[in-house]
């Protein structure tokens, strides 16, 4: 593959160009209630090329490596034509030349497991779920993905690298009377297949949550102090701050650039956050990004002050900062965009008991059901439990939180000492040709207490 990629970059008459090609092998199994709704193994392939001329940028996606040289020439021509219209030239930060290959090793490689064994494992979990009281249906998915990627650029980098990830994600749907509720079961999110087996305890916990949710009343809307569980804290930091640490989402926003300038006190002094793709064995772990930059740990918030942000070579130049190795494409053929890797909140000193005891009227909020992040952000939780006079009370449902980046991070008053790193996570980010969904991310966090958060709710 390397030879074809390097050949495609020859004599392009550009300031800079790079090219990536992916050969993947995927397995997907989907169970919908008692039925298999999808069972597939397949080998998608695709490539992506970028060309820069006098500050103009053109990119292209293609399917066949045989077309790489032709596509690269066309893309270079498109960049030359676009250069006539440029008023704000794009620059690229320098990055070390990398000529190295990165393989993947894992305790139990999902590629060595038969399709039959994968199907039987998913079916085993499905049988347990479908047998539970009030569960009316399930949607269970097994997925593994192996990617063999080649990358080359006109600076001289030439790399072969691999990604491998497997996970099981289940949605359990229950009905009691008119109430229909969902719980989520998710395990894996790494290259190690053995993390998927013998996880009945996780499934049973999800089924117990569903059982309680089916009798739970919808939450009452308002502004409350809350305690977020570690998973909720991870989703919170991802949505509330993580996306704003991706420099492509702040680059063109003068107000955000000023407020998020290095050293600005953005959060409570007890909060420290970093991004670390070098942690071994998590969904967001990788050795090199998709523009050939080696992965590294990046501090984002140190004691409440902005300490860094996540960059591509374009944004690093625009901010006059160093590259961080966070420019990644979710799939074959996509343009790489800036993505978080493993987003971690460092442990604090508070105990969960102290956090609960400090609240007279609020909620303990658990899990993350997805969200969206801007200056204002929102995210859904799996469930919440009312806190009254320092005691946990009944469970409530339909929990969606909203907040403002600049006020909510300063409203964190306690950081727990019980950090957990998560298994399966996923995240979507828009790029020019649609949302790039990826499960190659993760988050880790302890419990957090936030003094005031807006909770939506039909009842008030």
């Amino acid at each position: 593959m390397k030879e074809k990629l390097l050949a495609a970059l020859k004599n392009l008459d550009v300031d800079y160009a790079d090219i990536r090609f992916d050969e993947e092998r995927k397995t997907q199994i989907a169970l919908n209630g008692p039925q298999v709704s999808n069972l597939a193994t397949f080998s998608p392939r695709g490539g992506h090329v970028r060309a820069y001329v006098n500050g103009a940028k053109a990119i292209a996606s293609f399917s066949r490596i045989e077309d790489a040289a032709n596509i690269a020439r066309q893309t270079a021509a498109a960049a030359r034509a676009a250069a006539n219209h440029i008023t704000d030239p794009i620059r690229l930060a320098s990055a070390p030349i990398v000529k190295k290959d990165f393989g993947v090793t894992t305790p139990k490689d999902p590629r060595a497991v038969t399709l039959s064994e994968k199907h039987d494992l998913l079916e085993h979990y499905n049988q347990i779920a479908l047998a539970a009281p009030d569960v009316i249906t399930t949607q269970l998915y097994y997925s593994d993905s192996y990617a063999h990627r080649g990358y080359a650029n006109t600076d001289g980098s030439c790399i072969l690298y691999e990604h491998l990830i497997s996970h099981i994600l289940g949605v359990l749907i229950g009905r009691r009377g008119d109430a229909v509720r969902r719980a989520v079961f998710a395990v894996g999110g790494s290259s190690d297949y053995s993390r998927l087996a013998e996880r009945e305890d996780v499934l049973e916990r999800s089924l117990a949550e569903l059982d309680e949710l089916l009798s739970a009343a919808p939450i009452t809307g308002g502004s409350y102090p809350i305690v977020l569980d570690p998973y909720g804290s991870g989703v919170f930091i991802h949505e509330a701050f993580g996306h704003r640490s991706e420099a492509d989402l702040t680059m063109d926003n003068p107000m955000l650039r000023e407020k998020l300038s290095l050293g600005s006190q953005i959060a409570t002094p007890i909060l420290t956050v970093y991004d670390d793709p070098t942690l071994p064995g998590y969904g967001g772990s990788y050795p090199v990004d998709d523009e050939g930059v080696l992965a590294r740990r990046t501090p984002l918030i140190l004691k409440g002050r902005v300490a860094g942000r996540l960059h591509s070579r374009e944004t690093a130049a625009a901010f006059e900062e160093q590259v961080t190795g966070n420019c990644r494409a979710s799939d074959a053929g996509f343009e790489p965009v800036i993505r978080m890797s493993n987003t971690i909140i460092e442990n604090g000193t508070s105990s969960l008991d102290d956090m609960i005891a400090s609240i007279d009227d609020g909620y303990y909020v658990a899990g993350g059901a997805g969200g969206q992040g801007g200056i204002d952000f929102t995210f859904g939780a799996h469930w919440a439990r009312r806190i009254e006079n320092g005691k946990l009370k009944e469970m409530v449902s339909d929990v969606n939180l909203s907040g403002n980046l600049f006020t909510t991070l300063k409203a964190i008053s306690m950081v727990g000492n019980d950090q957990l790193l998560f298994e399966y996570c996923d995240c979507g980010k828009s790029s020019f040709d649609g949302v790039q969904m990826t499960s190659r991310i993760s988050a880790g966090a302890p419990h957090l207490k936030i003094d005031h958060v807006t909770i939506g709710g039909a009842a008030t």
């Binding site: 960049a79 704000d88 709710g457």
Partner: protein
């Protein structure tokens, strides 16, 4: 198709779906050309049934030899499936392609974008213009061992312009989208309406917590169509999870609301004549004056419900549209009937309320039960006039309660796009009598 012939020799049933897409996108950011992007890709999906069991495989070309091997291997597990692939039926073609659209070059798109940029800046020199112009075209072809052999070319053009509110950087702002099978252009009136929105967003303004009238723009009508899709899905109906399962013939929404599933409608930007399983699509009422008339089904769920497929199979999820997304029931063209008053009349009649242009967080709601709690973006309205942009404002409720009381529907409609958290169709402005607002 050679792959289908080979598959028929080895499997009881086979279905081949091939999609070729070519697109060019030009993006301007912060008033400057930022990107020219081309895409030229092919995708192929093969589904086989062997001894009653389903297997699938995907690739970029039907010529890949491993496709059949992988699909047959996958078909050796699981239970028997309850359906057969689509059979040959008479299908009336519709025009989904305009050669003038397909012929547009990057240069032409740059010229269009630059023209819009110049016109906005001529009127508002301090404005920041972010926009993209997109043209895509291609071919979809589906053939099955049961006799379907359907093929159609498609094209689409889109112009999306965003003008950030001055005090919010680029986070939120005025936005407008034009999309069609045919070439689109920005009229002076359309640009003026964008500039008007930008002025409405000069300052934040927050309503108080309580129940207020809500005017949803056509783009924000996905609150209705996405939540309704979960209840209408034949899969959820068959499994007893949908609250609509036993409600056919009953009033479930306002009598002002009539919604057809009509992917053939001439004004749709994603017009088509067959679904992603090759079943012909047609116009049929799903909601008629608020009364539920039917569900969205594909081959699998129609077999479970013992009815013909409604031609609503889509290879798509809430966020993605990938060849490997298994077909499932969803909207292909949600066409909401218009009302008889202009949207400006509806706005003028709001003493205090919200004009909601889009929402955050819809995907994390319990849409299956109609529950929604989202962050509302748009404008606070007083005495019929938008007085500032919304911030920290959450909109909550239940579709099957709040959409029972629709005050009015606009006479104007706009095409909506198929994409992440959005539904292809045609939607007017919808004025809800009231919805719960929580302000932080």
């Amino acid at each position: 198709m050679k792959l289908l012939t080979q598959a028929r020799e080895s499997a009881d049933q086979a279905e081949v779906f091939v999609r070729h897409r070519k697109s060019t996108l030009v993006r301007f950011a912060k008033n400057s050309l930022r990107l020219v992007a081309d895409r030229d890709t092919s995708e192929c999906a093969l589904r086989v049934v062997q001894q009653g069991q389903l297997g699938a495989s995907f690739g970029e070309s039907p010529d890949q030899p491993e496709l059949l091997r992988d699909a047959l291997s996958a078909a050796s597990f699981g239970q028997a499936i309850p359906f057969r692939f689509a059979e040959r039926t008479n299908r009336e073609n519709v025009i989904c392609y305009d050669r003038h659209t397909a012929a547009l070059t990057a240069e032409a798109l740059i010229e269009l974008g630059d023209g819009v940029r110049r016109r906005v800046l001529a009127a508002e020199p301090d404005a920041v213009v972010n926009l993209h112009t997109l043209v895509e075209s291609g071919m979809r072809h589906i053939a099955s061992s049961e006799g379907v052999d359907a093929e159609e070319a498609f094209s689409r053009m889109e112009l999306l312009v965003e003008l950030p509110f001055p005090s919010r950087g680029t986070d939120i702002g005025a936005a407008g989208r034009l999309t069609s099978i045919h070439p689109v252009s920005a009229s002076d009136e359309w640009i003026e309406s964008l500039l008007e929105q930008r002025h409405w967003g000069n300052n934040p303004s927050r309503p108080s917590t309580g129940r207020w009238p809500v005017l949803l723009t056509p783009y924000a009508s996905n609150l209705l169509t996405l939540a309704l899709a979960a209840g209408l899905s034949g899969a959820h109906v068959a499994q007893g999870a949908s609250p609509l399962a036993d409600k056919v013939g009953q009033q479930i929404l306002s009598q002002h609301l009539t919604i057809h599933e009509n992917p053939r409608h001439p004004n749709l930007a994603f017009r088509r004549s067959f679904d992603d399983e090759g079943t012909p699509v047609s116009s049929r009422p799903v909601i008629e004056r608020g009364v539920l008339r039917g569900f969205l089904t594909d081959l699998r769920t129609s077999a479970m419900l013992d009815c013909p497929s409604s031609g609503s199979a889509v290879r798509r999820t809430l966020f993605s549209e990938k060849i490997e997304d298994a077909p499932s029931p969803g909207w292909l063209g949600a066409v909401i009937e218009p009302g008889d008053r202009s949207w400006r009349d509806l706005l003028a009649g709001i003493e205090e309320g919200l004009l909601v242009t889009h929402m955050l967080g819809l995907h994390s709601c319990n849409l299956l039960q109609g529950q929604y709690t989202v962050q509302a973006n748009g404008f606070h309205v007083r005495n019929g006039v938008p007085v500032g942009y919304l911030e920290r404002t959450m909109l909550s409720g239940n579709l099957y309660e709040d959409f029972l009381s629709i005050r009015a529907i606009s006479s104007e409609r706009e095409p909506t796009t198929q994409g992440p958290l959005s539904v292809a169709g045609l939607a007017p402005y919808l004025l809800l009598e009231s919805a719960q607002i929580t302000v932080g």
